[in-house]
């Protein structure tokens, strides 16, 4: 009965979305306050209904009700409870439901906290949000329904792909989806503004927090995904330019551009049309990111659904959403009034440069991801576009971006004095030289390019701190004065410094990881040892252990450096009998500056084992940097300035004393 109730709730959610997508829109066009007011309760109702459905599905997974096809296909009675729960979204149908849940969550947030939005705009935003919901609910109910039943039930389930049986799965997809779906807010605001024909600084001010929130989630989601690939796949790498990674990276690039251009709209009332286009494209890429992995176009661990019927549905859905919104843009963008002017060398100009490079980088990734697909569709030939392509195209775009990233925050609005900006960056130049010199000193063989790259990262890092230090007059005023200034500095300013510095840290990590990464493969017998990057790894042997739903060979390595113990690493090779699938569990010890990474391979049957040891310098900095960026986003989000009060009804119409909308 729970399954059927969940199913019914999902159907009611679709109908509610239909009401929410139609009546408030008509109401906004006709100026009917009652119909506009319908949007808010409908959005909250959506959340309640979808949450009911999601809770029902979770319950079915927890009790292993195999009369539900989705549970039977993706769960198993012997699976640990954590993975029963995370398994809810570890499959195509469940992940669609999660997507819809997050969409409903965002929609209801506009409904609950959007008292400061003009009613017509709010009605339209929620209406567009409901259209997206309708598309997804229809897709789920008609082609990917998680509540379909089977009777008689199979004796037990087919279990979850063991690669996905990992705590990372608990966080990575929800974070990533929250990012993807978060950009639906910017999209809905953009479409609503196009319909209204009105886009001004106030609009940008409302869009910014949503974009920032989505960006924070997406950054976290991508970082978690890359971390998961790093420790679960056992290949020692953290980014593979895999199509599935790329499709999550593209909305990040454009979303970052959007974040910056929205600031220009808010502060200077300029770049409006471009910002709207960015909002549309960012969400379009999010949709592609959600769907391209499911349409069967790409195959990877993430390709849950490869089914022609679904593929067609997805294609139509993408066509309507992206094509329709771009058409609306073409028709209505000329209506938007152009705004403030600025000189090429100014804060605005810096943002334009940032946008140009980010958009170009996104285009490269798009090309590298889709080109093989098109080629295969056209003449059936398979090409693989891998790291060499991206190293040759993406990286050169990032170099000037990072260089200018240091300048932008130091430039004032409208027009700036470039000489003055460079004068303030002396310290950053010094830092860059120091980092490059240090790299040359520490590494043999005169590594010029890596040294220059490390210098660039240091340049950005120091410049971010210089800008922040300048604002609080660090070392130029008494420390107590600086402290007072830091306290009164808007949180968004702290947030920017953190985000930029985090980027610098992550870039340093990426350079280190790709240039100085070491890999050694040996066949070792118990008692033998090998040396990698100055660390001795003694192979103590392998023991058989039995997990809740797997068997494993667990190896033990004692790591020492010049005789002093450093760590004990216990990598595992697991076999999940239900799916008869082996997985590797790498053992990682981090020193903060580098990772020691051990993987155990197969036995050669004569007492020896294949052992892979990676030495990964600076890799932990990648995720440290991402964490700092996320932190920056959160700090910025907590800025009081992003929360504008609603106009009191009394201001507009002195005769009525009530609040405009009953909350």
């Amino acid at each position: 009965m729970i399954a059927e109730l969940g199913h019914f709730a999902l159907i009611l959610a679709l109908l509610t979305a239909l009401v929410q997508g139609s009546l408030p829109m008509i109401g906004a066009a006709r100026g009917d306050a009652a119909w506009m007011a319908l949007a808010r309760p409908a959005a909250v109702l959506q959340l309640v209904l979808v949450a009911l459905a999601f809770a029902a599905l979770t319950y079915l997974y927890v009790v292993s009700d195999f009369t539900v096809i989705n549970v039977a296909e993706n769960s198993h009675s012997a699976k640990p409870m954590l993975y029963k729960v995370t398994g809810v979204w570890g499959n195509h149908e469940g992940s669609m439901l999660l997507w819809i849940l997050i969409l409903a969550l965002f929609g209801s947030m506009v409904a609950l906290f959007g008292a400061n939005l003009p009613p017509s705009l709010r009605a339209r935003v929620l209406g567009v949000q409901a259209w997206i919901g309708i598309g997804f609910l229809l897709f789920t109910l008609l082609t990917s329904n998680p509540f379909l039943r089977v009777f008689p039930a199979p004796a037990d389930g087919r279990d979850l792909n063991p690669l996905l049986q990992d705590p990372g799965l608990a966080f990575h997809p929800p974070m990533l989806y929250a990012g993807y779906v978060g950009f639906s807010m910017a999209f809905s605001f953009a479409i609503a503004a196009l319909i209204e024909g009105k886009l001004d600084a106030a609009w940008a001010r409302w869009v910014r927090p949503w974009t920032l929130l989505a960006w924070v989630f997406l950054t976290g989601g991508i970082a978690l995904g890359s971390w998961w690939a790093y420790y679960e796949l056992g290949w020692g790498g953290w980014w593979f330019w895999d199509p599935v990674e790329n499709v999550s990276f593209m909305p990040w690039l454009l979303g970052t551009a959007l974040l910056h251009s929205a600031i220009v709209v808010e502060k200077r009332d300029a770049l409006k049309v471009w910002t709207v286009l960015l909002a549309i494209l960012t969400f379009s890429l999010s949709l592609i990111g959600t769907f391209i992995v499911r349409s069967g176009l790409l195959t990877s661990v993430h390709a849950f659904a490869t089914d022609p019927e679904r593929g067609l549905f997805i294609l139509i859905l993408l066509l309507i959403t992206i094509g329709g919104s771009l058409l609306l843009f073409a028709l209505r963008a000329p209506v938007l009034k152009p705004g403030g002017l600025f000189a090429p060398i100014s804060r605005e100009g810096g943002m334009v440069i940032n946008n140009l490079f980010l958009a170009a980088a996104c285009a490269t990734v798009l090309l590298g991801t889709l080109y093989p697909l098109f080629l295969e569709a056209v003449d059936g030939s398979k090409v693989s576009v891998g790291p060499p392509f991206f190293n040759a195209t993406f990286v050169p775009l990032m170099v000037p971006l990072i260089f200018f990233m240091a300048l932008g925050p130091l430039m004032p609005w409208k027009r700036a004095d470039l000489a003055g900006v460079f004068a303030r960056l002396k310290l950053a130049a010094l830092g860059a030289l120091a980092a490059a010199g240090l790299t040359l000193y520490l590494r043999e063989g005169w590594p010029v390019l890596p040294a220059a790259a490390m210098g660039l990262a240091a340049w950005l890092f120091v410049a971010s701190l210089v800008e922040w230090g300048g604002r609080i007059k660090l070392f130029r005023a008494p420390l107590s004065d600086s402290w007072r200034r830091a306290r009164s500095l808007p949180r968004a300013a702290h947030g920017m410094t953190l985000a930029h510095a985090g980027m610098a840290i992550a870039v340093a990590g990426m350079i280190g990881a790709s240039v100085w990464n070491l890999e050694e493969v040996r066949n070792l017998r118990p008692g033998e040892s090998m040396q990698v990057a100055g660390y001795d790894y003694r192979f103590d042997g392998v023991e058989q252990i039995e997990g809740p739903n797997y068997l494993a060979d667990r190896a033990r390595f004692t790591v020492t450096r010049e005789g002093r113990p450093v760590a004990v690493l216990t990598p595992e090779k697991r076999l999940y009998p239900v799916q008869n699938m082996p997985t590797t569990e790498a053992a990682i010890h981090t020193t903060g500056v580098s990772d020691l990474y051990a993987v155990i391979g197969d036995s050669d049957g004569r007492g020896g084992w294949t052992v892979r040891i990676f030495h990964e310098p600076l890799v932990p900095w990648i995720w440290l940097g991402c964490l700092v960026m996320v932190l920056g986003g959160l700090v910025s989000l907590s800025d009081r300035r992003l929360r504008i009060g609603a106009p009191k009804r009394a201001k507009a119409r002195p005769d009525a004393a009530q609040e405009p909308i009953p909350a």
Partner: protein, 397 residues
């Protein structure tokens, strides 16, 4: 019943929540301009704060202030026109009627559409079945049964019957690897007939996620050796060919299997689906209409199409037999005209064998043998044909 009560209550709640704003009297909304002005005033306040903190110099503050004030002024004009618009057109005429339509939509259409959609998609009345509450020979009971069997067989590993039961239970539980081990035990005890061998192959395929691997092929080959007509083994042999990219050969195997199938065989539908899929991906348009029989149509002789089989299934048993005979005769006649077709002769031989006409079957085999001999040694189909020839020969005493 409880489900319908709850579903009804849920629908009622939804309708009520949506209805509330529609029936409640709404005050005229605050004009759009007022919301814009709130933002601009906020910006002005921030500007002053930034100046106090010394983040901006006077010139910057002045320029920004001017800009914001200009926007504020524009917004004031807009507000005035807002007011004018609102007082000029209070609420359009006929608004009441439109509002009623909205109410009717929510009250009538929502529950009806919900019911309709649910009736098409849902499975009302199918109770839930948590794993812990199951009494259908799975769940805990199955686990207990398995434990008992395992301990008994540990004491008496020569009990082939016991292994068979255990293998079937494992298979049902989805423990294909364990099931394969159990089937292998039975084979090891010398009790592995064609059915056990075919089952072994099948669980190996299931364990490999649908791929017919080497061990599975071996098992099916042994099953066919023991019983050339074994449908499961033949089905998977065809699948193995298809997975090797030899789809045409796989299709031929499935067609001969479908031709040999008793019309009420439960697996026939699966085979037919495979035939249809394979034919479609080979670009054949076969299943739609029955192939024209004989008369030098030039097309290579084929087995009965899916449509043939379908129409045959609709016939009473004696007519079915007659139908099969007519098909076999059609094949024989065609082969007399175009005798250079070893595959056709082999199929004819099998058909005769199925019909019980051993002499005719042997005759057909004798026609096939020299043709196969005559094939070049590296012809791709040669080995398979040879194998089928041997299998048929050994099946005919």
């Amino acid at each position: 019943m409880i489900f319908w009560l709850l579903a009804g209550a849920l629908t009622a709640c939804v309708v009520a929540v949506l209805l509330l704003p529609l029936v409640r009297r709404q005050d005229q909304a605050v004009g759009r301009a007022a919301f814009d002005q709130a933002v601009y005033r906020d910006q002005l306040r921030e500007l002053q704060q930034d100046r106090q903190r010394g983040l901006l110099d006077e010139a910057e503050v002045e320029a920004a202030q001017l800009e914001i004030e200009r926007r504020l002024l524009q917004s004031d004009t807009a507000a005035a026109s807002d007011e004018a618009a609102q007082s000029a057109a209070p609420v359009a005429k006929g608004a009441k009627a439109v509002r009623r339509i909205g109410i009717a939509l929510v009250v009538v259409l929502m529950p009806l559409a919900g019911l309709g959609l649910y009736a098409t998609l849902g499975s009302p009345g199918l109770p839930g079945l948590p794993f812990a509450d199951r009494h259908d020979g799975s769940g805990r009971e199955a686990a207990m049964l398995v434990a008992q069997l395992e301990s008994r067989l540990a004491g008496d590993p020569h009990d082939a019957e016991g292994w068979l039961v255990l293998a079937r239970v494992y298979e049902r539980m989805g423990r294909y690897g364990d099931a394969a081990d159990a089937y292998r035990r039975i084979v090891g005890l010398g009790r592995g007939g064609p059915e056990v061998l075919a089952s072994l192959g099948e669980v190996l395929v299931a364990a490999a996620g649908g791929q017919v691997g080497r061990d599975a092929r071996l098992a099916f080959a042994q099953a066919i050796e023991a019983d050339p007509g074994n449908p499961r083994a033949r089905y998977y042999a065809g699948l193995a060919m298809a997975q090797d990219g030899r789809l045409a050969e796989g299709l031929a195997v499935w067609r001969s299997l479908a031709a040999d199938a008793p019309p009420d065989a439960p697996w026939l539908a699966v085979v037919e689906r495979q035939i249809a899929n394979a034919a479609a991906s080979l670009g054949e348009t076969a299943p739609a209409t029955p192939q024209p029989q004989g008369e030098g149509s030039g097309a290579p002789p084929r087995g009965p199409s899916a449509a043939d089989i379908e129409s045959m299934q609709a016939l009473p048993p004696d007519e079915q037999m007659a139908f099969i005979r007519s098909m076999v005769e059609g094949l024989a006649a065609r082969l007399e005209e175009q005798p250079d077709d070893p595959d056709g002769w082999l199929r004819l031989a099998r058909s005769y064998a199925v019909l019980g006409e051993r002499e005719a079957a042997r005759g057909a085999l004798e026609r096939a043998a020299p043709l196969i001999e005559g094939l070049p040694a590296d012809a791709p189909q040669r080995a398979a044909l040879q194998q089928r020839l041997e299998a048929l020969r050994s099946a005919l005493p």
